[in-house]
Amino acid sequence: MKFGILIQDGPYNHEASDSAYNFIKAALERGHTIQGVFFYNDGVYNVNKLMDPPQDDRNISKRWSELGAKGIDIVVCIAAAKRRGINTDIIVPNVRISGLGQLLEIAVESDRLVTFGTG
């Protein structure tokens, strides 16, 4: 199955980003396809490269970057990012900033859009 992923919550405060990551890993292991990952609302904070958690914890932005390096299209909403001070200078490699049109494309090209984190 082709999954699109929408993440609407930031890192660490809630589990949304972790749940999305684990969902994607499990889906890929079972041979499914990830059409794309879209970060909206506070979700845009997930790809901030300035993140520097204690060494015994997971680095959430690094994890998304590694997923991007494997060829998963990871997109950050430009309007939500601008509002929150996230720009190309401070995002991790292998993710890109683009418009909500990309969310539409991911959503309609997927068999299922799965959303994480609207509380």
Partner: protein, 123 residues
């Protein structure tokens, strides 16, 4: 994407207008996607029904008043706008209290509409 059939996309507005950004950024998403000529509908559920409350004054809050922007949905041919009857009633509201016309529906009817969508976007 252009050569494909229109997709049925429903926005679920579940949060009050102010207190979190979901309603406002949800509106931004509706307006952008409206420009892509998809078959869009919007359902106001739970505290989401407050988003359309008439005569909002956000000056004391110091935040942007955006309820009036919902009037522009018509310009994007977004006319499938629903509100959950029970959510309205629980909050002492009727369709007359809202800034744009909505179709007031039972939860079960909205659930059926949700089943018929290609994409659901919750805010």
């Amino acid at each position: 994407m252009a050569e494909k059939e229109k997709s049925k996309i429903m926005f679920l507005m579940r949060k009050a207008a102010h207190g979190s950004i979901y309603a406002y950024e949800g509106l931004e998403a509706i307006l952008i996607m409206g420009a892509f000529e998809q078959e869009i509908s919007v359902a106001f559920i739970d505290d989401g029904v407050f988003v359309l409350k008439k005569e909002q004054d956000t000056k004391p809050l110091g935040v942007k008043e955006f309820s009036r922007t919902f009037k522009t949905l018509e310009d994007f041919d977004i006319t499938n706008i629903y509100a959950d009857r029970e959510s309205l009633e629980q909050r002492g509201l009727t369709a007359d209290d809202l800034i744009i016309p909505v179709k007031v529906m039972e939860a079960g009817e909205i659930a059926k509409l949700m089943e018929g969508q290609d994409v659901l976007l919750p805010f």
